[in-house]
Symmetry: C2
Subunit: 153 residues, 2 copies
DNA sequence: ATAGTAGGTTCTATTTAAGAACTCATTATC
DNA sequence: GATAATGAGTTCTTAAATAGAACCTACTAT
């Protein structure tokens, strides 16, 4: 199975892997959420090679999560901004960091904080069902294949 | 930056990348949630090479998401089961598949369905704050660096 | 004795990533 | 007017990870 084959997979998780299935892409998105917009900003804050960064930014752009906006002419320069699709990824990022904090502990304190904009209170993320309000987790949700579950399926 | 360096990063997102930052690991976890437990089951359903599958299962085990349980002796055989840490990953998986469904559309219908165990109703996942009940997304949550945000922390 | 099952390991070839240097257009400094 | 700095990449070489196939081991069934 090749990289390319995944982007047309029927399974949404497999399609997501075609975009975020590598070491760097989620870290680039994290930087976007923290406000980074420019090439050198990403490069310096992450320590990613310039080559890979250019490639990943292109991928995020073509997947519709980022969009380039010119911020000056002469010489023409662009910055990368989250699109609505990219912003919609925020709950995934929050859920992931919450899981990681609780299940992959480490000595140092977390270098990112997530707070409510309206009052600065620390958040305590929980996934719920919009209709029933019920908490969604391994106990309350049943996951099952509809038809075929192979990645390319 | 090497793979290895990320597992001790201060940033929880970076630490998560040391575990799930590749093309296959989330698909393996998806299969776990769908009930797959055995080596050949994963291999056949995903089309992953046996070599990589063995390596990824070891990684998931050492990261504490999976645990091997013997299911027979003579010859000794093990199956892989989700630990509490692994089960706690369910909301991330749900949030990811929901985002993917809404933002990486494709022709075929999704091959996985997620329903409430109690009544079989389709779920509509939304991340909320446990205390305030407020919906958590890019508009309501402020993400900011605490100290240093480089991946190696 | 032969084939099948289950869970791997080993091998080579290809692809991807790391790390450093280089380009190009423009502005700022000596 | 020459030299350095800025910003956003591109181009190299080397190192690591992945793909794909074949092989191994310990049984069980035919």
């Amino acid at each position: 199975m090749k990289w390319h084959d995944m982007k047309d997979a029927a399974c949404p998780v497999a399609r997501a892997m075609a975009v975020i299935g590598d070491r760097w892409t989620l870290l680039i998105l994290r930087e976007c959420f923290l406000g980074t917009r420019r090439f050198d900003g990403f490069q310096q804050r992450l320590g990613i090679t310039r080559h890979l960064l250019a490639e990943r930014l292109k991928r995020l752009e073509s997947a519709g999560l980022l969009k380039r906006h010119p911020y000056q002419e002469r010489p023409l320069r662009h910055e990368y901004r989250l699109t609505d699709s990219g912003k919609a990824f925020a709950p995934v990022m929050l859920a992931l960091q919450d899981w990681s904090r609780n299940n992959l502990p480490c000595d140092d304190s977390a270098p990112i904080s997530f707070v409510l904009r309206e009052n600065g209170a620390e958040i305590d993320p929980v996934l719920t069902d919009r209709r029933s309000g019920q908490e969604l987790n391994h106990r309350t949700v049943l996951m099952r294949p509809n038809t075929e579950t192979r990645a390319k399926g």
